[in-house]
């Protein structure tokens, strides 16, 4: 599938951007350039929505394109499906159920414990692995940047992407149907929103990879709901039985942290890798066949898993410890009926409707000879540039500037060192001219 009108999870506010190149240097796929003093995601089809730029910008100029509270209008009923990460945001005093109730108090008519769907997905993964002996390892596709990265850079690993639907999508599908029936309203009048630790979900909802259409209407940043939830938490009194919204065990809650799968798939050889650099490293190894004996590889682009998402409030280490406490407290015995999940699996309800296709990067030139000439030119320019990797030209490295020049998007005098030299030469020429 071609991603037409590919929109992004982030936007750079030109008024706040100082052109400091911090995001440019941080982007793992070198998609950002500073041009005319402002940063811009110029290589937008390279962006994998990892949120690294969002994380590092010291001027709050990088914004997530998440749904804002004021945009929740025009629905007859609102439903929230919060990432289990939310349970770790409000300290030890508040139970997951309190947090879900508080979320209801913030203005959602329905709140669902997404961790239950996470538990179902673990069973579905196990079932998938049982029925399909190859390829190995299967690679999780729940963190949106991972699938994007594989499609763009690891075409050989496309068949390894696990074709299980992400929990938020199955949950949204069920929620929408149930609420519409419950209220006697049209399914499209129900607003179903994911409460998210990252902006990446926004793109997976608006421009899903592989899936035809998302079941969600949008995603709201955890940090945008932090204050209202915190206030609402103060007003929660005794919780009555019918108010028990939290239905998951520790298995589902473990979804929030890396190594969650180790708990969810006790009988499988699993590996969990988090953080963009380590993810790239392991994908390189898997691509080259250097990873042996692993059934399932769980990858998260954020360090430490979703608790390390860019749109959370709590420190990721504190949050991890809180999640670990909750896992212990709620136990590692799944509360989900395995047989029911297997039935759903057989009815393909839990299989993703995705069809993944590798996306070849844009070649330097479609003609091999011309492309090779351009590559040689890039080499030549790279050796001419000072090699200080300072970023002052607005490109993340001297080699990237060389490539931009060859692609016609920059000039050698964008390099400050070259420009100073040019000016000096011009001055010298001027002086020489004046003397003679």
């Amino acid at each position: 599938m071609l991603l037409e009108h590919y929109s992004h999870s982030i936007m750079i506010d030109r008024n706040l951007c100082t052109g400091c190149v911090i995001c440019t240097l941080a982007c793992p796929v070198q998609a950002i350039r500073v041009r005319d003093g402002k940063a811009d995601v110029v290589k937008s089809n390279q962006c994998i929505d990892c949120g690294e730029c969002l994380r590092v910008c010291p001027h709050q100029a990088v914004r997530s394109m998440t749904t804002k509270r004021q945009d929740l209008t025009g629905y007859k009923a609102l439903a929230a499906l919060p990432s289990p990460v939310i349970y770790a945001q409000f300290g030890d005093m508040h139970t997951p159920n309190d947090v879900l109730l508080a979320l209801k108090g913030v203005g959602f008519d329905y709140v669902f414990d997404l961790a239950v769907n996470c538990e179902m997905v673990f069973i579905a993964i196990d079932e998938y692995l049982r029925r399909n002996a190859a390829p190995r390892p299967m690679i999780s596709n729940f963190c949106p940047p991972i699938a994007r990265m594989i499609l763009k850079s690891y075409p050989n690993l496309v068949p390894n992407i696990l074709p299980i639907e992400v929990p938020r999508e199955t949950a949204a599908k069920t929620a929408r149907r149930r609420i519409a029936e419950d209220r006697g309203i049209a399914p499209e009048d129900v607003g179903v929103f994911h409460i998210t630790p990252c902006a990446a979900k926004v793109v997976s909802i608006m421009r899903p990879v592989g899936v035809d259409k998302s079941n969600l209407d949008g995603a709201i940043a955890i940090r945008d709901l932090y204050v209202p939830i915190k206030n609402a938490l103060n007003n929660i009194g005794e919780v009555e039985d019918e108010w028990i919204l939290q239905k998951s065990s520790g298995v589902g809650i473990s979804w929030a942290i890396g190594r969650g799968s180790v708990r969810g798939l006790p009988n499988r050889r699993t590996l969990s890798v988090t953080g963009v650099k380590d993810v790239i490293r392991i994908l390189d190894d898997v691509d080259a066949g250097r990873v042996e004996g692993i059934d399932y590889l769980e990858l998260s682009i954020c360090p430490g898993g979703c608790v390390g998402g860019p749109l959370v409030v709590e420190n990721k280490h504190v949050a991890t410890s809180r999640i670990e406490d909750l896992i212990e407290q709620y136990g590692v015995r799944s509360r989900v009926d395995t047989r029911k999940v297997v039935r759903q699996f057989e009815q393909t309800y839990l299989l993703s409707s995705s069809r993944f296709h590798a996306q070849a990067p844009e070649p330097l030139d479609t003609d091999l000879r011309r492309a090779l000439e351009k590559m040689s030119r890039i080499e030549e320019l790279t050796s001419m540039l000072p090699g200080k990797q300072c970023g002052a030209c607005g490109a993340p490295s001297c080699r990237d500037l060389a490539e931009d020049i060859v692609r016609g998007n920059a000039t050698p005098s964008d390099c400050v060192f070259i420009r100073v030299k040019e000016l000096e030469d011009a001055c010298a020429g001027h002086r020489d001219g004046a003397e003679s």
Binding site: P155, G293, A360, D367, L368, L372, M375
Partner: protein, 152 residues
């Protein structure tokens, strides 16, 4: 090669023996370079595999190595020229099974460590020249699919 096939791109890399920190970085650079071409994913993958194997040989056994990547319209040419212990019996090193490959890697057709047979299998041409106490030179070629079909 009878038809004229000039080298259109050349880049030289240095590999240092024992530098595990950067092991694999040259094969990564090669992959990155090849991805800028409008070429078949399979040949890129094979180039990455053989260069990684050869690079690891250097890191594990040699002191230093100059590696030259050359690309022409017909294919990729990799030369690993190392200063190191050399291989006493190239014939033996080229025999199948003389490698420390894992089972799965062998199933996929390549190995780790001194995986010369695997480099041979994964590439279209391999030539090994080694002098004990001096060093080893690997000359590896991979053909672009279009070039192969034209030649056939």
């Amino acid at each position: 090669m009878a038809i004229e096939d000039p080298v259109l791109f050349r880049r030289v890399f240095k590999i240092t023996g024992g530098d595990f920190q950067n092991a694999g970085s040259v094969s990564k650079e090669i992959k990155k370079a090849l991805k800028q071409l409008n070429t078949d994913a399979e040949v890129i993958w094979r180039a990455m595999i053989v260069s990684y194997e050869a690079e690891m040989n250097v890191v594990l056994y040699a002191r230093e190595c100059e590696m030259t990547l050359e690309i022409s319209q017909s294919g990729i040419h990799l030369v690993f020229d190392d200063r190191g212990p050399g291989i006493p019996d190239v014939g033996l090193a080229m025999t199948e099974g003389y490698s420390t490959a894992t089972r799965e890697m062998r199933e996929r057709g390549f190995g780790a460590g001194l995986g010369l047979p695997n480099i041979k299998k994964t590439s279209d041409h391999l030539e090994v020249v080694s002098t004990v106490g001096f060093g080893t030179r690997l000359d590896i070629r991979l053909m672009f699919p279009a070039a192969v079909s034209k030649a056939a």
